[in-house]
Symmetry: C2
Subunit: 798 residues, 2 copies
Amino acid sequence: MGALPQLFAVALLLIHSNLAQASSTPSDCGGSQVCRKTEPYKTASLTPAERANDLLKRLTWEEKIGQMGGIRAAFRSINGSVAFNRTSFEQIRSTQNGQIGYGQQANWAMDLLPRMNELRAEQINGSRLHIPYITVADSVNGLWFSGGTVFPGTISMASSWNLPLYEQVIAASRDENLAMGINWVLSPEVDIIHDPRNGRNGEMYGEDTYLVGEFGTRYIKTMQEKDDNGFVKVATTIKHFVFGSGSGGVNRASMFGGINHILNDLAPPYRKAIREGQPLSLMASYSSIDGVPASINKYLLQDVLRGILGFKGLIMSDANAIQYLLTESKVARTRSDAAVKSLQAGLEHELKPDGLGLFVELRSLHSNKEIASLVDEAVRAMLQIKFATGMFDQPLPTIENMAATLRNPRHLLLNRNITRESIVLLKNDDAFLPLTKGLLSGSGKVAVIGPYADLINAGNYAPVDPADPRYGNSFLRSFENALGKENVLYAQGTSTVLPNYDHDAQAKDQAAISFAVDKAKQAGLAVVVLGSGYGNFMPEFFNNERTDTEGYSHADLGFPGAQQQLLDAILNTGVPTILVMSAGQTFVINQSTSRCKAILHSWLAGEYSGDSLVEILLGQVNPSGKLTVSIPDHNGAFPVAYDYLPSDDVGGFSTYTKYDWHWPQLTRKPAMPFGYGLSYTNFTISEVSVSTSGTGSNRTIDVSAKVTNRGKMGGKEVVQVYFRPQYSIIERPVMKLIRFSKVSVAVGSMEIVEFDRIALTELGFYVNGEWTVEEGNYTFWVGSSSRSSDLTPVNVVI
Amino acid sequence: MGALPQLFAVALLLIHSNLAQASSTPSDCGGSQVCRKTEPYKTASLTPAERANDLLKRLTWEEKIGQMGGIRAAFRSINGSVAFNRTSFEQIRSTQNGQIGYGQQANWAMDLLPRMNELRAEQINGSRLHIPYITVADSVNGLWFSGGTVFPGTISMASSWNLPLYEQVIAASRDENLAMGINWVLSPEVDIIHDPRNGRNGEMYGEDTYLVGEFGTRYIKTMQEKDDNGFVKVATTIKHFVFGSGSGGVNRASMFGGINHILNDLAPPYRKAIREGQPLSLMASYSSIDGVPASINKYLLQDVLRGILGFKGLIMSDANAIQYLLTESKVARTRSDAAVKSLQAGLEHELKPDGLGLFVELRSLHSNKEIASLVDEAVRAMLQIKFATGMFDQPLPTIENMAATLRNPRHLLLNRNITRESIVLLKNDDAFLPLTKGLLSGSGKVAVIGPYADLINAGNYAPVDPADPRYGNSFLRSFENALGKENVLYAQGTSTVLPNYDHDAQAKDQAAISFAVDKAKQAGLAVVVLGSGYGNFMPEFFNNERTDTEGYSHADLGFPGAQQQLLDAILNTGVPTILVMSAGQTFVINQSTSRCKAILHSWLAGEYSGDSLVEILLGQVNPSGKLTVSIPDHNGAFPVAYDYLPSDDVGGFSTYTKYDWHWPQLTRKPAMPFGYGLSYTNFTISEVSVSTSGTGSNRTIDVSAKVTNRGKMGGKEVVQVYFRPQYSIIERPVMKLIRFSKVSVAVGSMEIVEFDRIALTELGFYVNGEWTVEEGNYTFWVGSSSRSSDLTPVNVVI
């Protein structure tokens, strides 16, 4: 226990609103019972808007500005213990006290909750109107800090293409957050993966706007589910408005504008989420768009977001984004200028990782009526979220509930299940997998090789020390558990990331690679685990040379360091080799890599990544993941997404072309396409039907198909529906996903998959901000991936 | 002579206008002298606009549509001879007869002119109103077909940074075109090099809008210079409005929109050229911009081009672009729909390489008043160009003038001079170059190695058979001429382009590389010439696997095929090695390449590329070229242009960074920056002064600096001035070029370089279409490249 033990016991006995009422002082309303009863903001039966309006009127100017910021990281982690600095805490709290965050990932939940409850109680007791904080946290793999279930990263979960399962996982994640008193998360990230170099792609769902919109909307609906008292469980933050193609794949870099691009290529997940999920908040992106940083881009935040897309919630800045207006973009002259410009553009809350925020500068601008009015709007939005989530009415979270909720067995099972479905089998020559007893019986041994074999690579936002067994089994450990330690010959082969130009390291690598080659030959079968990654609180683990993570862009789409060299050395022995990729990114699949008997991508799977991989390798689980991003065939061969514009693929003169694979010219033919992924069984999709019914704008489209399992193992197939108008007033992609469904089909059995009543309006797109639907000839495709050989086309007139 | 000998003698005796008048038939005006004299369009003293207005009234609907197209390629080349197909010619001419083009590059000027004159005379005699064609040609390296001076490609000439010399070269190119009766060229291409993968970059000037605008405007002014009779010598076509970053570096691919991006990042050369050069025509790009193909992008062609930028000339399509609306972009339902939409958007002339154009469909739309009015505008624009260039008044070109003009000794000397200045010395360890007698005296021999050593690589638009000595000396031949054949040991080493995945070819390469290694060891000194390229009429020469050229995009920024392997093999011997790059692109300069003692880039130099390289290697010429494009340090590390936005370079967390060179994250630090290039002498730039004078919007900035030659050889230095506002309302680049000047400085001497009266308005930029100039703090830099260590900063308040 730290500096605040005396408050702890008190806090746990009270609920927020009781505390607030109990501590009302006579100065508030003369101490009369009547007064306390009639304060509308304390009346839970009123709407959040009504309560917020009432409370807003009672706030001083400084209290209002206080609500527009918060304390991003209440606690630090020093030598494995929770640390708290009262001085710096108070410095921030005195001017920024709307929300609070837990801080570093290395801390453990059981150490954090009692201390956070102390701070919460202190704020309720110690502030003039007893306004509670709301606790805000990142939530990608579940809890931001240690001690919860470590779910897979976003790209992993999306690779399952299993929306109902995803909802269950998010419900578990929500309940773990809620158990820690986290009522507001900084997810979902619905940015579209447009550039394979972006180190943050693993935090995103994929390259397709429909798929991202489906997952993002489910996330919001599940998090924001209402409890029995009608309170939103956990408010969400849809982000980053708007991002998808920062220059060079750099996270904070500039983006091109163009209203059709923004609305059709980036905004569709927002459109769906705003209409169907109503996220309570939204985060503006770091990027400047057409030269105007999102934080001061009034056109983008007002005309596009509020106007065209209809967003009604709170708009917050990304961390430090207001400051960057001054220090990086140089579009503000002073801190105050940056604060005013971003407020005027539409920012209502500032996220600041440390130190004083820039909205604090607004304290001196009370007399400016425009600013006063904008501040009222901003604070009203904040208070509404607090009332909606029951901050004034619900009890503080208890240790008992935390203990019962975090790592609940049901959560762990859900985690296993989604991990199993998130691994994608990309290649499986001659049904090399699953490994049969026969294959293993040569020497009876398997060589496990590669720098990613003995760690957990769950992503930048996962609270995981990659080498600490408390966070789960590495693949190596899982395989040893399954086969017996004596049957697994391990060689790291090279370090996680090692620059080729370090000559000493190169020599060390050569020795390590030779050692690995020996192991492979000895075993007669090799599983090589390569990748790229980053553990947020273990940068030194990755030799300070990260390729994945926020803020990093990898120019090279190959494996970092000497990993390809290691793989080639193993393949050159002729030993049958299985490649497992581990990363939040795709890696080029080239002619050399293609010599592997089998290739799997395990993305940024969580604590069960090792176990699930072993289950798949041994045939205990039939893989069912599918790519949500296309994999290029060459370094530099991007953009590679399946939904390119038709004029993007007309580079060459076919008469001069000798190969199907046009290496020297960029083609849009990826090594592995969006939607692709293999199973151990054989599915056929047949009896594809597309029909229309209804009239006028009420017309709908029905799509159905039959999925038959003609193989020898039960499994799951993802049926995908794509479409394209054969004429449109502006260029439209060569195909767009419009529905998908994952179905389980028993051996020798079949299932009918039906997508009923797809509304005509769903075929539309924006032209200069107007939603437009074309009539005429359309092509629909139904099949198991976006590759034309996996699809059945149907032409219809609509 | 072909099908039309009988017309030839007649045609040469007549000038266009005389012929037209002499052949006026009584049906035109009853045969009266008065009538002939008073037809205003025949009166040379009237303005082109007046004459065009008069003639327009006299045209039938079909004659009008005829002027909106032409015959792109009158002649073919079959087995080295000019071929003419009367049937297909007449099929096109009957509906498209505004302009005519010569056709294939392999034909020779002396064979072409008489035959073209026959067709010209035939059209004048045979058409109802005796309206001549105007002859249109591409002109990048000079004449489009064989027989003229083969100047360097655009990127080469820009690398000279020598505007006065460039003007002289363009004047020579103009006179050679004019001698062939070419009065209209499809240049300059002022597209900005934004993506190093684009196979067309060699046709462009560089990555900087100011530099491109300067060269492009000089091109226009020189080409459109008026003759003694007041006629424009050669009309120009500024293009491609607007292009610069087609998706994936693909020429015809889609681009992002955003009005600030278009106006600030792409349009500045148009702005300057339209204001100062007044190009008579402009070509719309192939690209769709924000989803709307340029050919139907009314906003782009009307609001932006005509409105904001003030363009008044004729707008033409790119070749086949109207057809692609139907077949590729699918934004038109029929040929007629494509023609109407592009006409309505602003296209006035159709470029069609073969077959019937789509504007022909307008023939059936006479009764549509809107279309009739737009057609009148289009035809008026075409006729004005014909009157402005004297098509109705000037004689047909003569054989005598052609013989005296093409390859005139003065042209050849200019060609040598600009080639000498266009080669860039990128690296020169320990003053390894120039090669002294001592260095050559080891074995007395030099090994010349590489697939680009024995060919001329002048670019896609150059009429050059790369291996035919009639088109100039290869580097190998020039070096043999200089040193004696017996002193040059040649090994091709590998083919021009050979995919790594062809195993037979790989084996062949290994043998060829071993052979080259032996030659290098034998000589003790190696010059390795590597590159990428394409000769337009010799595709088979490049193994059908081109990387440079229109329509091609190279995903890989390394040398194609086994060339890097060849270079590494040579470097591994320890033999001192000079690398010469030959291409219209940049190649990654990596740790391996950096082992070369010296590196030069010769770009797409013309017929004197070999001679000039030898002169530089031997110290007879002091290199003075500078990069107009930045060279990346890693495959995939782009965009790399020096004028990035400040927020584009904030990817990483410096506390975790061990190296200056952040390999895993994309930084904007190129291997070699824009403006960079070495000399054999040492220049210092000192006494930098930046001052302002005047008041209000009349304020101007004066910049001056002293250049001193402290070395042992006379030479030329390019003084460059950059600037940046320290605050602006939208994000502006970290620096922008605003002036440059190339000065010649004798040994031990100095020159003062002054840039006087830079207008305040030149510091401006567009914000949502409005020209904006910031007041306040500015930084100016003066120096020899865009690299900060080569620059002196000066802060001024404006």
